[in-house]
């Protein structure tokens, strides 16, 4: 499974990587550090599109929300499940990101174990959607 992470915070990227290493399902992780880099990568021809994209909202240059809207507007990128990964947000903001097209919303947990569990859950469910032919448009998950 190909996973793409867009986050500017070094420490968070480290946590993410270490968490994925502990997960049973085979995953292939790639990291970008800001919105512009992300869009450039995704729009390059010939790349293998990720199975899930984890997107931090607070990034320099281009914010996560802008990337989200842009990706959902592109036909060939629209079907990638996108997980928004953010520190804090009000219920209203969470709902807003879902409305804008996000499939998953993750509030960054403080406990490493919780992070592992969350990522595992996401990957598993995503795989279920993939293999059981479930409707990806209804794929909404808030953790």
């Amino acid at each position: 499974m190909h996973i793409l992470l867009a986050d500017d915070d070094e420490d968070d990227c480290l946590f993410f990587k270490e968490a994925f290493e502990d997960i049973k399902i085979k995953t292939n992780l790639r990291i970008v550090n800001d919105g512009v880099e992300l869009m450039n990568y995704l729009t390059r021809t010939g790349i293998k599109l990720p199975h899930i994209l984890f997107l931090d909202l607070n990034m320099p240059r281009k914010s996560g929300l802008d990337c989200l809207v842009e990706i959902k507007s592109m036909k060939h990128l629209r079907d990638i499940p996108i997980a928004i990964y953010s520190t804090s947000a009000s219920e209203a903001d969470i709902e807003d990101t879902f409305v804008k097209g996000a499939n998953i919303y993750i509030k960054k947990p403080g406990d490493f174990g919780a992070l592992k569990k969350t990522l595992e859950q996401i990957v598993t469910i995503n795989w279920q959607y993939h293999t059981s032919g479930l409707n990806k448009e209804h794929f909404l998950l808030s953790i």
């Binding site: 709902e95 598993t124 059981s132 479930l134 409707n135 209804h138 808030s142």
Partner: protein, 189 residues
């Protein structure tokens, strides 16, 4: 104009399968839901064409018996969850083992091994998906949906939905509606 559509998955898939096979002018018999007996030999190249043709529709040829069984389990569960009427009160272990002709222990172990989830979790997943479908078609209240899907109470239903998706049923409904509105606005613009 808005149309709300419901899919009779079985009929649709069967039709597609038949159309695809007819395209290749093959002599075949349909045995049950997902077995096809092709009454002639096919070359590897021909096979590839069939596979390509199938893949457009998301149809895969299962070539391992294990996967076949898994698929049967999934189909049985799907059939159960997507019943028109209220879901029957039935012990899932008995139902599956009777339907598929294997012991429940064997079935559930195999399922977890291959899919990395338990059957219970898969059932919850499918029920949640059906709930989402029912919520979106806007015809029923949350209470009615809970009853239809055989939950003991609305709270139980909300709870399970919330643990599965992280959102309450009404929040889910709200989000989908707002997404629709946004799409309509984009089209108008």
């Amino acid at each position: 104009m808005k149309l709300y559509v419901k899919f009779n998955v079985t009929a649709t898939c069967k039709k597609v399968l038949q159309e695809q096979l007819d395209k290749f002018q093959l002599k075949y018999d349909l045995l049950g839901f997902n077995e096809v007996e092709i009454n002639e030999d096919i070359s590897p190249a021909g096979m590839k064409k069939i596979v390509d043709g199938f893949s457009q529709y998301g149809i895969e040829i299962i070539d391992r018996p294990k996967n076949l069984l898994i698929q049967k389990i999934k189909d049985a569960i799907t059939e159960l969850v997507y019943m028109e009427d209220r879901l029957p009160v039935v012990k899932i272990s008995t139902y599956l083992s009777e339907k598929l002709g294997y012991g429940y222990g064997y079935i559930s172990n195999l399922f977890s091994e291959v899919t990395f989830t338990s059957i219970e979790n898969y059932i919850i997943l499918q029920k949640t998906e059906r709930a989402k479908q029912l919520i979106i078609t806007n015809g029923l209240t949350i209470t009615e949906i809970a009853w239809k899907l055989n939950y003991s109470s609305v709270a139980h239903f909300s709870n399970q939905f919330k643990s599965a998706t992280g959102l309450t049923p009404t929040a889910f409904q709200r989000i989908i509606n707002k997404r629709r509105e946004a799409l309509i606005n984009v089209e108008i613009d």
